[in-house]
């Protein structure tokens, strides 16, 4: 009898844990085609990257930071990096060329729209930030602060393709969440 009770308790605990785990894994997806953003950036990439004078430094650290992000941290990191670009990078970069200005405006306003989409996830408590995710985005800010602000903004703009590719990869609608 005791063995049977213990087995039932174990089963119940396993069920509860798996449902919590599943909820955590349920992705908060930006159901948006980033293809046109990548196209917009491609048009100005050469001009932006040509202004980057610190070739040996990277701010997003693609190979280390972004690629190691776990699926459960994708929402948090996306939200934080969108805020990084919207609150710091686009503001710190003042563009005079009208063509480049239009493309940056298109990307910036699209990022604003993505933030609003993720805001809904946050209100549903589906965008929890664990320590690892917070550490990853903190290192991005630290890298940015080490450079002079205009140079840092140009470098971050030049690394937009890395961020956009990461969003496209991690926010695919693979299955109904």
């Amino acid at each position: 009898m005791k063995v049977q009770c213990a087995a039932l308790w174990l089963l119940a605990a396993a069920l509860i844990l798996s449902s919590v785990h599943t909820r955590g894994l349920r992705k908060c997806l930006i159901s948006m085609d980033t293809h046109h953003l990548e196209e917009s950036f491609q048009e100005i990439k050469r001009a932006i990257q040509a202004k980057d004078t610190f070739q040996n430094v990277t701010i997003l650290s693609a190979s280390e930071t972004l690629q190691s992000i776990k699926p459960s941290d994708v929402c948090c990191v996306t939200k934080n990096l969108l805020a990084f670009y919207v609150d710091r990078v686009f503001k710190d970069h003042r563009e005079l060329n009208p063509h480049i200005l239009r493309k940056i405006s298109s990307i910036a306003n699209s990022f604003l729209y993505m933030q609003k989409t993720l805001q809904r996830c946050q209100e549903q408590r589906r965008c929890h930030c664990r320590q690892e995710a917070t550490n990853a985005t903190r290192s991005v800010h630290e890298n940015y602060d080490q450079l002079e602000v205009h140079s840092a903004a140009v470098k971050s703009l030049g690394e937009l393709n890395v961020f956009l590719a990461w969003i496209a990869k991690n926010h695919q609608e693979i299955s109904a969440a």
Partner: protein
């Protein structure tokens, strides 16, 4: 008050317009700003329109600038010149390539005439592209043999289409197919003979999370397979061909043989039997004379001739 006092000498000298110009700094507008701004947006194509500024005998030019929500919140002094409408004569502006995010955009336009420019006239309510009117898509439904094929209008890369099709007699069993782009024929289904199929479609724009109404359903029928009488006729014709063709080939062969290598056949009057015979029957008195005469066979004749 001071304005009025400054104006008195001018009024006395009756040069009011000159005085007004003197009081207003150079280059600032007396050109009126465009009025009645409105945005017309259909199927993700956005046009800003306004009433013309009329100056008799002169051509007035217009310039349009926009400001996305990002610029409005973070860079409030930044307005971006539109791609196609800097110093345009038209009183409308295609902003499709400028309004590229699903956020509210502020728009303003001003008039220019020579060195004069008007004040900026701003659209009352910012425009968000998710308010675009989506119309049911035009579609061309055809059959290619037994294949049901649909071609939808090309509305650009932001559009996908949801196509529903069903057999007319079972309207509740709808099949759905997503068509990624218009302007290309797409195969829907291979139809069963004698059945009628109906199709309808709606446009879907993921970027704004909206879709159009469905188009009117179009139905198309597939003919039965060949009727029985026609099939029977075809069968008989086929069988006749089966017989006629070998006979024709044989006859052709004979014709060829006779043309190329004819067999020499002697007429019956020249034919001789194997033993020489008296052919001429003689009366009695002529028997001897006749007896002297023998007829040779054709081979003997030939030999003597050689």
């Amino acid at each position: 008050m001071w304005f009025f006092y400054a104006l008195i000498p001018c009024l006395l000298r009756a040069h009011l317009s000159a005085c007004l110009s003197a009081l207003i700094p150079d280059g600032v507008a007396i050109l009126p700003a465009p009025q009645n701004l409105s945005v017309h947006s259909t199927n993700m194509k956005h046009f800003l329109m306004w009433s013309p500024v009329i100056v008799p005998g002169e051509t007035v030019y217009y310039s349009v600038e926009y400001q996305g929500e990002y610029e409005r919140l973070y860079l409030s002094d930044v307005w971006i010149p539109s791609s196609w409408c800097s110093l345009t004569e038209k009183t409308e502006c295609d902003l499709t390539e400028d309004i590229t995010a699903t956020v509210p955009y502020s728009l303003h336009v001003r008039a220019t005439l020579g060195s004069q420019t008007s004040a900026w006239s701003t659209l009352t309510h910012p425009f968000n592209r998710n308010s675009t009117i989506l119309t049911p898509p035009w579609m061309d439904v055809t059959k290619d043999g037994f294949h049901l094929v649909i071609e939808l209008e090309d509305l650009g890369p932001q559009f996908e289409f949801l196509v529903a099709y069903w057999r007319r007699e079972s309207a509740t069993k709808e099949h759905i197919k997503m068509v990624r782009s218009g302007g290309i024929p797409v195969h829907l289904v291979t139809m069963e003979p004698g059945a009628a199929y109906c199709v309808k479609a709606q446009a879907v724009v993921k970027a704004i999370g909206r879709h159009s109404a469905f188009s009117q359903a179009e139905c198309i029928e597939v003919q039965e397979a060949l009727p029985l009488a026609l099939a029977l006729f075809a069968f008989v014709g086929f069988m006749l061909n089966l017989v006629a063709v070998p006979i024709s080939i044989w006859k052709m062969g004979q014709l060829l043989r006779y043309s190329c290598c004819p067999v020499v056949v002697l007429p019956n009057t020249l034919k001789i039997t194997s033993s020489p015979q008296k052919l001429i029957s003689c009366r009695k008195e002529e028997v001897d004379a006749c007896a002297m005469t023998t007829v040779l066979s054709s081979e003997e004749l030939f030999r003597t001739w050689i």
